[in-house]
């Protein structure tokens, strides 16, 4: 399959009082049409910034895309005009966010908020746009969609609001949907419903999805491929099963080890929950070496000297680590 979105060597810098923070450091990604790509990592690793860069919504100032390209079917979005980006946003690439409670405008009816998106991107009458809004609400599984379309956001629960967000995002049949931690703020049972919904809609519409999350379970369930990010770098990427069953980078291994399991005797041979020792370094104080080196149990002198580049270990699996062989052998 051909990539519809390909990010090459993207660099995003933020000017802060403490100096220049390189929030994205030469990241490269490819999204193939119809696939679900997972991006995982801790808070502040650049997951959301990747999404905002694609949408052209990096807050500027203080942020700035200083290098690289984001190409959508060969068209570089970094160079695209404001007017063109407005067409892309919501029309070709749309996005849902982490906070369904606050992501809808409190003073407008949800139906109008969905219809607005349709009106912006399609030559369509107001009545038809409203009809589309109701149709989308039906699709995302909201009961009594005609009545709910007339509701204001505060009259809906968090799960309902996230469904409205999904309805809005998909209302113009985008080719790419970016879901930035869409379930973090929701109850576990509602989380499962939202994931199922995204999965069903993806199968039905063929929309490619970039799923940003720190929930390894969601990744295992949904994603075809995964990219792992750490401190603004992509440190490992590959097929979901390869990443989950055969992680190569010490950080990915640590991340997977941290996932708590439901077991009958959880404390039997593992008295504590696993953790990765240390903290994520400040982005203004990254040295020249590997960003994970200060926390890495496998580090060697070269790790602090020069940053490892991401290299293929097989056809679909790439890692940025000097000591892969040694790490895997352990």
């Amino acid at each position: 399959m051909a990539a519809i979105l390909s990010i090459k060597d993207l660099v995003v810098d933020f000017k802060t009082r403490a100096g220049n923070a390189r929030v994205l450091n030469e990241i490269s990604l490819e999204l193939e049409s119809g696939e679900i790509l997972g991006i995982v990592g801790e808070s502040g690793c650049g997951k959301s910034m990747t999404a905002l860069s694609i949408m052209g919504l990096v807050p500027s100032p203080p942020g700035k895309i200083t290098n690289g390209s984001i190409s959508l079917d060969g068209e570089d979005l970094v160079q695209a005009s404001t007017a063109r980006m407005r067409q892309v946003r919501g029309g070709i690439i749309s996005m849902i966010f982490q906070e369904p409670m606050t992501s809808l405008n409190p003073v407008f009816r949800v139906g109008d908020q969905i219809a607005e998106c349709v009106l912006l991107h399609e030559d369509i009458s107001k009545a038809d746009a409203w009809a589309r809004a109701v149709e989308m609400l039906t699709k995302v599984g909201i009961p009594e969609p005609e009545i709910r379309a007339r509701a204001y956001p505060h009259e809906l629960s968090g799960g309902m609001r996230q469904r409205v967000m999904i309805a809005m995002a998909l209302s113009c049949r985008p080719r790419i949907l970016i879901a930035d931690e869409p379930t973090t703020a929701l109850d576990v049972t509602v989380q499962a419903q939202i994931f199922d919904l995204l999965n069903d809609l993806q199968r039905e519409t063929g929309t490619a999805i970039i799923m940003i999350t720190h929930d390894m379970g969601a990744i295992a369930e949904l994603a075809d491929r995964v990219a792992v990010m750490y401190a603004g770098h992509i440190i490992e990427s590959g097929k979901t099963e390869d990443i989950l069953t055969n992680p190569q980078h010490p950080y990915t291994r640590g991340l997977i080890a941290c996932v708590p399991h439901l077991e009958e005797n959880p404390t039997e041979d593992r008295p504590y929950l696993s953790e990765i020792k240390g903290v994520v370094p400040s982005l203004t104080e990254l040295g020249k070496g590997c960003a994970f080196a200060p926390r890495c149990p496998y580090k060697t002198p070269i790790c602090e000297e020069e940053r490892p580049h991401i290299e293929a270990v097989d056809k679909t699996h790439s890692v940025a680590c000097y000591n892969v062989k040694y790490v895997v052998a352990v």
């Binding site: 946003r89 003073v107 998106c117 991107h121």
Partner: protein, 325 residues
């Protein structure tokens, strides 16, 4: 709560409030020093003790205060606000004749302040560190700190002496003929300076308030959502953000209605605007109790009505209150 029930309850509250206002005003005026009989007698050109007693009797001033209060309340609720000592005319007629100009002045000033203030606030929020924003801040601080009569006098000096563009007194030019339309234009022409003077204080506050609330709202998640669906920046500001940013302005504007009316007294006096303010000023100097009471009563009515309207408007602009009851 349904809308009708809400309005009914508010009306009941309003009625009780009006009663309380009547009683309080009456007592306050009677605590104040000075004998109205003296003033009335003075108007007539000196008086003997018998004449004073006679005057007191005519106006019921010889009775105990609580009897006067009872009489006053009964009459007031029947729409009779008494007879002016000074103008020798029914207070109701006096107040009714002067209410129009005051309402015109206050409403114009308020609308001007709300619209221009919000617009300036939105402009300032676009570039919070830009020139417009700085200008709005400076003008706001000056407008807010300068006393109303000072602003009024400065405007008078500027527009009557340095650049004689606008009239500085009265509501219209009696020497000018013409039809209804000419008269309306003339009134609006005379309205410019008083309304500007009265509005500028509030304009400054609303500009600051809008700027602050716009800045907060522009960083919110639903603005990011609007941008993410491809809404143009003009609409992000003017539609998605502004609809939320005006909520505090509506609240404050409603609350401030009372202070705008008291500001009107000063402005009317500076510009000889023939409204309740000048009437109040004159009747206070003349110790014309019934007229003062009538004006206080009527302005309380205005404030209460304004609060009621604010409540309703707030329900219109904020759906969360509409259903929350």
């Amino acid at each position: 709560m349904t809308m009708t029930l809400m309005v009914a309850r508010r009306l009941l509250h309003a009625f009780l409030l009006i009663l309380a206002v009547l009683v309080l005003n009456f007592l306050l005026i009677h605590i104040a020093p000075g004998d109205p009989a003296d003033v009335i007698a003075g108007e007539m050109g000196g008086a003997t003790e018998e004449m004073l007693a006679d005057i007191r009797k005519t106006y019921g001033l010889d009775k105990p205060v609580y009897v006067q209060l009872g009489v006053y309340l009964t009459r007031a609720l029947q729409g009779d606000l008494g007879q002016s000592f000074f103008y020798n005319a029914p207070v109701l007629d006096l107040v009714a004749g002067r209410a129009g100009p005051t309402i015109l002045l206050v409403a114009t000033a308020l609308l001007f302040a709300v619209f221009v203030g919000t617009m300036l606030g939105v402009l300032a929020s676009h570039k919070p560190k830009g020139i417009v924003s700085g200008l709005v801040t400076v003008v706001s601080v000056i407008g807010y700190s300068a006393p109303i009569f000072w602003t009024g006098m400065m405007l008078v000096i500027l527009f009557a002496w340095v650049y004689p563009i606008f009239p500085i007194a009265n509501m219209y030019d009696i020497t000018r003929g013409g039809g209804f339309f000419d008269r309306v234009v003339d009134i609006l022409y005379h309205l410019v300076l008083p309304a500007l003077t009265l509005g500028i204080v509030y304009l400054a506050q609303y500009a600051r308030l809008t700027r602050a609330s716009m800045l907060e709202i522009l960083g919110s998640d639903y603005i990011r959502t609007a941008r993410a669906k491809g809404v143009a920046e003009v609409k992000v500001y003017g539609h998605h953000a502004l609809r939320n940013a005006i909520l505090p302005v509506v609240t404050i504007a409603g609350l401030q209605f009372g202070s705008i009316i008291s500001g009107a007294v000063l402005v009317e006096t500076v510009f000889s605007w023939p409204g309740l303010g000048t009437l109040a000023f004159e009747s206070i100097l003349a110790r014309d109790y019934p007229t003062i009471l009538g004006i206080l009563f009527f302005s309380s009515l205005l404030v209460i009505a304004a609060n009621l309207i604010t409540d309703l408007v707030y329900r219109l602009v904020d759906p969360r209150i509409r259903t929350g009851g």
